[in-house]
Protein backbone atom coordinates (compact mmCIF):
# COMPACT_ATOMS: atom_id res chain seq x y z
CA UNK A 1 0.00 0.00 0.00
CA UNK A 2 0.96 3.65 -0.19
CA UNK A 3 0.83 5.33 3.18
CA UNK A 4 0.54 9.05 3.80
CA UNK A 5 1.63 9.93 7.33
CA UNK A 6 0.37 13.27 8.64
CA UNK A 7 2.17 14.36 11.79
CA UNK A 8 1.26 17.34 13.97
CA UNK A 9 3.52 18.28 16.84
CA UNK A 10 5.50 21.49 17.35
CA UNK A 11 8.57 19.86 18.90
CA UNK A 12 11.14 17.70 17.18
CA UNK A 13 12.04 15.77 20.34
CA UNK A 14 8.41 14.99 21.18
CA UNK A 15 6.85 11.61 21.75
CA UNK A 16 4.57 12.26 18.76
CA UNK A 17 7.59 12.54 16.45
CA UNK A 18 8.95 9.32 17.92
CA UNK A 19 5.58 7.71 17.20
CA UNK A 20 5.78 8.97 13.63
CA UNK A 21 9.19 7.38 13.17
CA UNK A 22 7.89 4.12 14.67
CA UNK A 23 4.91 4.13 12.32
CA UNK A 24 7.18 4.76 9.33
CA UNK A 25 9.51 1.91 10.36
CA UNK A 26 6.52 -0.40 10.70
CA UNK A 27 5.15 0.57 7.30
CA UNK A 28 8.53 0.09 5.66
CA UNK A 29 8.90 -3.34 7.25
CA UNK A 30 5.57 -4.26 5.69
CA UNK A 31 6.78 -3.01 2.32
CA UNK A 32 4.48 0.00 2.10
CA UNK A 33 5.60 3.14 0.33
CA UNK A 34 5.58 5.97 2.84
CA UNK A 35 5.27 9.73 2.47
CA UNK A 36 5.47 11.88 5.61
CA UNK A 37 3.88 15.31 5.97
CA UNK A 38 5.16 17.00 9.10
CA UNK A 39 2.78 19.94 9.33
CA UNK A 40 4.85 22.02 11.75
CA UNK A 41 8.10 21.40 9.83
CA UNK A 42 6.38 22.43 6.63
CA UNK A 43 5.06 25.59 8.23
CA UNK A 44 1.52 24.63 7.32
CA UNK A 45 -0.95 27.45 7.98
CA UNK A 46 -3.73 26.23 10.27
CA UNK A 47 -6.56 28.65 9.66
CA UNK A 48 -8.64 28.85 6.51
CA UNK A 49 -8.26 32.28 4.95
CA UNK A 50 -11.04 34.54 3.71
CA UNK A 51 -10.06 33.84 0.08
CA UNK A 52 -10.10 30.10 0.70
CA UNK A 53 -13.48 30.33 2.35
CA UNK A 54 -14.89 32.27 -0.59
CA UNK A 55 -13.45 29.67 -2.99
CA UNK A 56 -14.66 26.76 -0.87
CA UNK A 57 -17.90 26.26 -2.76
CA UNK A 58 -16.35 26.88 -6.16
CA UNK A 59 -14.83 24.30 -8.48
CA UNK A 60 -11.25 25.22 -7.55
CA UNK A 61 -11.16 25.57 -3.78
CA UNK A 62 -7.41 24.92 -3.47
CA UNK A 63 -5.47 28.20 -3.63
CA UNK A 64 -2.25 27.51 -1.75
CA UNK A 65 0.50 25.54 -3.60
CA UNK A 66 1.02 23.53 -0.42
CA UNK A 67 -2.63 22.47 -0.14
CA UNK A 68 -2.64 21.61 -3.87
CA UNK A 69 0.40 19.39 -3.35
CA UNK A 70 -1.14 17.75 -0.28
CA UNK A 71 -4.42 17.13 -2.09
CA UNK A 72 -2.51 15.33 -4.87
CA UNK A 73 -0.74 13.23 -2.24
CA UNK A 74 -4.07 12.31 -0.63
CA UNK A 75 -5.35 11.16 -4.01
CA UNK A 76 -2.24 9.06 -4.60
CA UNK A 77 -2.24 7.21 -1.25
CA UNK A 78 -4.58 4.49 -0.07
CA UNK A 79 -3.69 4.57 3.63
CA UNK A 80 -3.96 7.74 5.72
CA UNK A 81 -2.07 7.72 9.01
CA UNK A 82 -2.56 10.56 11.48
CA UNK A 83 -0.08 10.99 14.33
CA UNK A 84 -0.90 13.74 16.82
CA UNK A 85 -1.25 14.58 20.50
CA UNK A 86 -4.88 14.85 21.67
CA UNK A 87 -5.46 18.33 23.08
CA UNK A 88 -8.79 19.27 24.64
CA UNK A 89 -10.24 15.99 23.34
CA UNK A 90 -9.53 17.05 19.79
CA UNK A 91 -7.03 17.42 17.00
CA UNK A 92 -4.34 20.11 17.33
CA UNK A 93 -5.43 23.22 15.41
CA UNK A 94 -2.88 22.61 12.64
CA UNK A 95 -4.28 19.14 11.90
CA UNK A 96 -7.87 20.36 12.09
CA UNK A 97 -6.85 23.12 9.68
CA UNK A 98 -5.25 20.56 7.39
CA UNK A 99 -8.59 18.77 7.11
CA UNK A 100 -10.38 22.04 6.44
CA UNK A 101 -7.93 23.32 3.83
CA UNK A 102 -6.94 20.09 2.03
CA UNK A 103 -10.01 17.87 2.34
CA UNK A 104 -12.20 19.99 0.09
CA UNK A 105 -14.50 19.50 -2.89
CA UNK A 106 -13.18 16.86 -5.31
CA UNK A 107 -10.59 15.71 -2.79
CA UNK A 108 -12.69 14.38 0.09
CA UNK A 109 -16.16 14.68 -1.37
CA UNK A 110 -18.01 15.25 -4.62
CA UNK A 111 -21.33 16.87 -5.28
CA UNK A 112 -23.84 14.86 -7.25
CA UNK A 113 -27.13 16.60 -7.84
CA UNK A 114 -26.55 18.77 -4.77
CA UNK A 115 -25.79 15.74 -2.63
CA UNK A 116 -22.46 15.16 -0.93
CA UNK A 117 -20.80 11.91 -2.00
CA UNK A 118 -17.50 10.44 -0.78
CA UNK A 119 -14.47 11.06 -2.98
CA UNK A 120 -11.84 9.25 -0.90
CA UNK A 121 -13.10 5.90 -2.17
CA UNK A 122 -9.53 4.81 -2.97
CA UNK A 123 -8.58 4.97 0.73
CA UNK A 124 -8.49 1.50 2.28
CA UNK A 125 -7.42 2.33 5.78
CA UNK A 126 -7.39 5.23 8.23
CA UNK A 127 -4.94 4.92 11.12
CA UNK A 128 -4.95 7.17 14.17
CA UNK A 129 -1.94 7.20 16.48
CA UNK A 130 -2.29 9.58 19.39
CA UNK A 131 -1.34 10.30 22.97
CA UNK A 132 -3.74 11.41 25.67
CA UNK A 133 -2.87 13.15 28.92
CA UNK A 134 -5.92 11.61 30.56
CA UNK A 135 -6.50 7.98 31.50
CA UNK A 136 -8.57 5.75 29.22
CA UNK A 137 -11.84 6.06 31.16
CA UNK A 138 -11.70 9.88 31.18
CA UNK A 139 -11.05 9.93 27.43
CA UNK A 140 -14.04 7.63 26.96
CA UNK A 141 -16.31 9.73 29.16
CA UNK A 142 -15.30 12.88 27.26
CA UNK A 143 -16.01 10.90 24.07
CA UNK A 144 -12.75 11.54 22.22
CA UNK A 145 -13.62 14.21 19.67
CA UNK A 146 -10.39 13.74 17.69
CA UNK A 147 -11.03 10.06 17.16
CA UNK A 148 -14.61 10.73 16.11
CA UNK A 149 -13.47 13.37 13.64
CA UNK A 150 -11.06 10.97 11.91
CA UNK A 151 -12.66 7.56 12.42
CA UNK A 152 -16.23 8.69 11.79
CA UNK A 153 -16.45 12.06 10.01
CA UNK A 154 -13.46 11.57 7.70
CA UNK A 155 -14.27 7.91 7.31
CA UNK A 156 -17.66 8.83 5.89
CA UNK A 157 -15.78 10.42 2.99
CA UNK A 158 -14.05 7.12 2.25
CA UNK A 159 -16.97 5.03 1.09
CA UNK A 160 -17.65 1.59 2.51
CA UNK A 161 -14.42 -0.30 1.89
CA UNK A 162 -12.26 1.29 4.53
CA UNK A 163 -10.90 -0.05 7.80
CA UNK A 164 -9.83 2.01 10.76
CA UNK A 165 -7.03 1.25 13.19
CA UNK A 166 -6.72 3.23 16.41
CA UNK A 167 -3.64 3.24 18.60
CA UNK A 168 -3.91 5.40 21.71
CA UNK A 169 -1.40 5.95 24.51
CA UNK A 170 -3.36 7.01 27.59
CA UNK A 171 -2.10 8.89 30.69
CA UNK A 172 0.98 9.88 28.74
CA UNK A 173 1.95 12.69 31.15
CA UNK A 174 2.40 10.25 34.01
CA UNK A 175 3.79 7.39 31.94
CA UNK A 176 7.33 6.16 32.37
CA UNK A 177 9.97 5.40 29.81
CA UNK A 178 9.08 1.70 29.86
CA UNK A 179 5.43 2.27 28.96
CA UNK A 180 6.40 4.68 26.22
CA UNK A 181 8.93 2.29 24.73
CA UNK A 182 6.32 -0.47 24.86
CA UNK A 183 3.83 1.70 23.04
CA UNK A 184 6.40 2.64 20.38
CA UNK A 185 7.02 -1.07 19.84
CA UNK A 186 3.32 -1.71 19.64
CA UNK A 187 2.89 1.00 17.01
CA UNK A 188 5.76 -0.33 14.90
CA UNK A 189 4.55 -3.91 15.23
CA UNK A 190 0.94 -3.06 14.43
CA UNK A 191 1.90 -1.05 11.37
CA UNK A 192 4.17 -3.85 10.18
CA UNK A 193 1.44 -6.47 10.53
CA UNK A 194 -1.68 -4.76 9.26
CA UNK A 195 -3.59 -7.45 7.48
CA UNK A 196 -4.83 -6.20 4.12
CA UNK A 197 -6.58 -9.46 3.23
CA UNK A 198 -8.94 -9.82 6.14
CA UNK A 199 -10.35 -6.34 5.90
CA UNK A 200 -10.46 -5.72 2.21
CA UNK A 201 -11.03 -8.99 0.44
CA UNK A 202 -7.63 -9.05 -1.24
CA UNK A 203 -4.65 -6.73 -1.56
CA UNK A 204 -5.08 -4.69 -4.64
Amino acid sequence: MKALVVCAHPRGESFTRALTRAAVRGCERAGHEVTVLDLYELGFRAEMSLEEHRAYHSESPLLDPMTIEHAELVKAHDMLIFVYPTWWSGLPAVLKGWLERVMVLDVAFRLERQRVRPALTHVRRIVGITSYGSPWWVVKSLQDGGRRTLARALRMSCGTRVATTWLGMYSVDTSGIVERAAFLDRVEHTMAHLDPVRNHGGSR
Partner: protein, 207 residues
Protein backbone atom coordinates in the same frame (compact mmCIF):
# COMPACT_ATOMS: atom_id res chain seq x y z
CA UNK B 1 -24.12 38.94 34.18
CA UNK B 2 -20.87 39.10 32.27
CA UNK B 3 -20.70 37.42 28.90
CA UNK B 4 -17.67 36.78 26.74
CA UNK B 5 -18.57 36.20 23.11
CA UNK B 6 -15.90 34.52 20.99
CA UNK B 7 -16.55 34.67 17.27
CA UNK B 8 -14.72 32.70 14.59
CA UNK B 9 -15.39 33.13 10.88
CA UNK B 10 -13.07 34.41 8.15
CA UNK B 11 -15.80 36.30 6.29
CA UNK B 12 -17.13 39.45 7.98
CA UNK B 13 -20.21 39.26 5.73
CA UNK B 14 -21.06 35.64 6.53
CA UNK B 15 -24.18 34.13 8.04
CA UNK B 16 -22.08 33.54 11.12
CA UNK B 17 -21.55 37.30 11.41
CA UNK B 18 -25.32 37.77 11.29
CA UNK B 19 -25.60 35.25 14.12
CA UNK B 20 -22.98 37.16 16.07
CA UNK B 21 -24.94 40.40 15.64
CA UNK B 22 -28.08 38.72 16.97
CA UNK B 23 -26.21 37.29 19.92
CA UNK B 24 -24.63 40.63 20.79
CA UNK B 25 -27.93 42.50 20.42
CA UNK B 26 -29.82 39.97 22.53
CA UNK B 27 -27.28 39.93 25.34
CA UNK B 28 -26.99 43.73 25.36
CA UNK B 29 -30.77 44.06 25.58
CA UNK B 30 -30.86 41.64 28.49
CA UNK B 31 -28.44 43.88 30.34
CA UNK B 32 -25.34 41.71 30.10
CA UNK B 33 -21.92 43.24 30.38
CA UNK B 34 -20.25 42.17 27.17
CA UNK B 35 -16.82 41.51 25.78
CA UNK B 36 -16.52 40.33 22.20
CA UNK B 37 -13.46 38.61 20.72
CA UNK B 38 -13.38 38.15 16.96
CA UNK B 39 -10.47 35.80 16.31
CA UNK B 40 -10.13 36.42 12.57
CA UNK B 41 -10.58 40.19 12.93
CA UNK B 42 -7.82 40.42 15.50
CA UNK B 43 -5.56 38.12 13.50
CA UNK B 44 -5.19 35.55 16.25
CA UNK B 45 -2.44 33.02 15.55
CA UNK B 46 -3.86 29.54 16.27
CA UNK B 47 -0.51 27.72 16.09
CA UNK B 48 0.58 26.27 19.42
CA UNK B 49 4.35 26.76 19.29
CA UNK B 50 7.27 24.60 20.36
CA UNK B 51 8.16 27.10 23.11
CA UNK B 52 4.61 27.02 24.44
CA UNK B 53 4.63 23.27 24.42
CA UNK B 54 7.92 23.20 26.30
CA UNK B 55 6.41 25.40 29.04
CA UNK B 56 2.80 24.21 28.94
CA UNK B 57 3.07 22.71 32.41
CA UNK B 58 4.46 25.95 33.90
CA UNK B 59 2.02 28.35 35.52
CA UNK B 60 2.16 31.93 34.31
CA UNK B 61 4.51 31.32 31.38
CA UNK B 62 2.02 32.35 28.72
CA UNK B 63 2.21 36.10 28.05
CA UNK B 64 0.64 35.68 24.58
CA UNK B 65 -2.58 34.49 26.21
CA UNK B 66 -2.81 37.10 28.97
CA UNK B 67 -5.58 39.26 27.48
CA UNK B 68 -7.69 36.27 26.49
CA UNK B 69 -7.18 34.64 29.88
CA UNK B 70 -8.26 37.85 31.65
CA UNK B 71 -11.48 37.80 29.59
CA UNK B 72 -12.10 34.15 30.43
CA UNK B 73 -11.58 34.77 34.13
CA UNK B 74 -13.85 37.82 34.02
CA UNK B 75 -16.94 36.25 32.46
CA UNK B 76 -19.89 34.35 33.95
CA UNK B 77 -20.95 33.07 30.59
CA UNK B 78 -18.93 32.06 27.56
CA UNK B 79 -20.65 32.21 24.18
CA UNK B 80 -18.93 30.63 21.17
CA UNK B 81 -20.20 31.56 17.70
CA UNK B 82 -18.67 29.56 14.85
CA UNK B 83 -19.42 27.37 11.84
CA UNK B 84 -18.91 23.65 12.39
CA UNK B 85 -16.34 22.34 9.88
CA UNK B 86 -15.34 18.69 9.73
CA UNK B 87 -17.70 18.11 12.65
CA UNK B 88 -15.82 20.41 15.02
CA UNK B 89 -14.54 23.88 15.81
CA UNK B 90 -12.64 25.61 13.00
CA UNK B 91 -8.85 25.37 13.39
CA UNK B 92 -8.76 29.04 14.39
CA UNK B 93 -11.06 28.43 17.35
CA UNK B 94 -9.38 25.14 18.25
CA UNK B 95 -6.10 27.03 18.28
CA UNK B 96 -7.59 29.59 20.65
CA UNK B 97 -8.55 26.75 22.98
CA UNK B 98 -5.13 25.09 22.63
CA UNK B 99 -3.21 28.31 23.31
CA UNK B 100 -5.40 30.24 25.75
CA UNK B 101 -6.82 27.57 28.05
CA UNK B 102 -3.46 27.22 29.78
CA UNK B 103 -2.37 25.81 33.09
CA UNK B 104 -3.04 28.06 36.06
CA UNK B 105 -5.71 30.00 34.22
CA UNK B 106 -8.24 27.32 33.36
CA UNK B 107 -6.88 24.15 34.95
CA UNK B 108 -4.42 22.85 37.47
CA UNK B 109 -2.67 19.53 37.59
CA UNK B 110 -1.74 18.14 41.00
CA UNK B 111 1.81 16.81 41.22
CA UNK B 112 1.98 13.31 39.76
CA UNK B 113 -1.68 13.41 38.75
CA UNK B 114 -3.19 13.04 35.33
CA UNK B 115 -6.62 14.56 35.90
CA UNK B 116 -7.19 18.26 35.45
CA UNK B 117 -8.70 20.32 38.25
CA UNK B 118 -11.10 23.09 37.29
CA UNK B 119 -9.82 26.66 37.60
CA UNK B 120 -12.45 28.43 35.52
CA UNK B 121 -15.09 28.15 38.20
CA UNK B 122 -16.39 31.62 37.42
CA UNK B 123 -17.93 30.29 34.18
CA UNK B 124 -21.51 29.22 34.99
CA UNK B 125 -22.81 28.93 31.48
CA UNK B 126 -21.39 27.75 28.18
CA UNK B 127 -23.36 28.61 25.07
CA UNK B 128 -22.61 27.57 21.49
CA UNK B 129 -24.26 29.10 18.45
CA UNK B 130 -23.18 27.16 15.37
CA UNK B 131 -24.15 25.94 11.93
CA UNK B 132 -23.66 22.48 10.46
CA UNK B 133 -23.52 21.95 6.71
CA UNK B 134 -24.86 18.43 7.00
CA UNK B 135 -28.02 17.12 8.59
CA UNK B 136 -28.63 16.31 12.23
CA UNK B 137 -28.68 12.63 11.27
CA UNK B 138 -25.23 12.68 9.66
CA UNK B 139 -23.86 14.63 12.61
CA UNK B 140 -25.28 12.06 15.01
CA UNK B 141 -23.55 9.28 13.11
CA UNK B 142 -20.31 11.22 13.38
CA UNK B 143 -20.85 11.57 17.12
CA UNK B 144 -20.80 15.38 17.16
CA UNK B 145 -17.19 15.74 18.31
CA UNK B 146 -17.40 19.55 18.31
CA UNK B 147 -20.34 19.44 20.69
CA UNK B 148 -18.59 17.01 23.03
CA UNK B 149 -15.48 19.18 23.20
CA UNK B 150 -17.57 22.04 24.61
CA UNK B 151 -20.20 20.25 26.66
CA UNK B 152 -17.82 17.75 28.20
CA UNK B 153 -14.17 18.74 27.91
CA UNK B 154 -14.33 22.53 28.25
CA UNK B 155 -17.17 22.26 30.75
CA UNK B 156 -15.00 20.03 32.93
CA UNK B 157 -12.79 22.99 33.88
CA UNK B 158 -15.69 25.40 34.44
CA UNK B 159 -17.99 25.66 37.47
CA UNK B 160 -19.12 22.14 38.50
CA UNK B 161 -22.74 23.12 37.92
CA UNK B 162 -22.10 25.05 34.70
CA UNK B 163 -24.96 24.86 32.22
CA UNK B 164 -24.44 24.18 28.56
CA UNK B 165 -26.73 25.46 25.83
CA UNK B 166 -26.44 24.17 22.26
CA UNK B 167 -28.04 26.39 19.63
CA UNK B 168 -27.37 24.85 16.23
CA UNK B 169 -28.70 25.02 12.72
CA UNK B 170 -28.29 21.65 10.99
CA UNK B 171 -28.41 21.11 7.25
CA UNK B 172 -27.17 24.58 6.34
CA UNK B 173 -26.05 23.45 2.86
CA UNK B 174 -29.57 22.48 1.89
CA UNK B 175 -31.39 25.15 3.86
CA UNK B 176 -33.57 27.83 2.33
CA UNK B 177 -33.34 31.55 3.02
CA UNK B 178 -36.47 31.15 5.17
CA UNK B 179 -34.83 28.42 7.27
CA UNK B 180 -31.83 30.62 7.91
CA UNK B 181 -33.99 33.60 8.78
CA UNK B 182 -36.09 31.47 11.12
CA UNK B 183 -32.97 30.28 12.91
CA UNK B 184 -31.66 33.85 13.22
CA UNK B 185 -34.99 34.88 14.70
CA UNK B 186 -34.94 31.97 17.12
CA UNK B 187 -31.54 32.89 18.56
CA UNK B 188 -32.82 35.62 20.93
CA UNK B 189 -35.45 33.28 22.38
CA UNK B 190 -32.96 30.44 22.81
CA UNK B 191 -30.43 32.79 24.41
CA UNK B 192 -32.94 34.01 26.95
CA UNK B 193 -34.43 30.70 27.96
CA UNK B 194 -35.94 30.61 31.43
CA UNK B 195 -32.89 28.73 32.67
CA UNK B 196 -30.43 31.34 31.39
CA UNK B 197 -32.63 34.21 32.63
CA UNK B 198 -32.69 32.72 36.10
CA UNK B 199 -28.93 32.32 36.05
CA UNK B 200 -28.45 35.92 34.89
CA UNK B 201 -30.73 37.15 37.67
CA UNK B 202 -28.76 35.23 40.27
CA UNK B 203 -25.44 36.48 38.95
CA UNK B 204 -26.55 40.11 38.95
CA UNK B 205 -27.82 39.87 42.54
CA UNK B 206 -24.54 38.19 43.49
CA UNK B 207 -22.63 41.05 41.89
Amino acid sequence: MRSLVVVCHPDPASYCAALRDRVVATLTESGHELRVTDLYAEGFDPLFTAAEHASHLDVGAHPHAAGHVADLQWCDQLVLVYPTWWSGQPAMLKGWIDRVWVRGATWELPAGGNRLQARLRNVRSLVVVTTHGSSKWINSLQGEPGKRVVTRTLRAVCHPRARTTWIALYGLDRSSAEDRQAFLDAVPRRLSSRRLRRLARRRSTAA
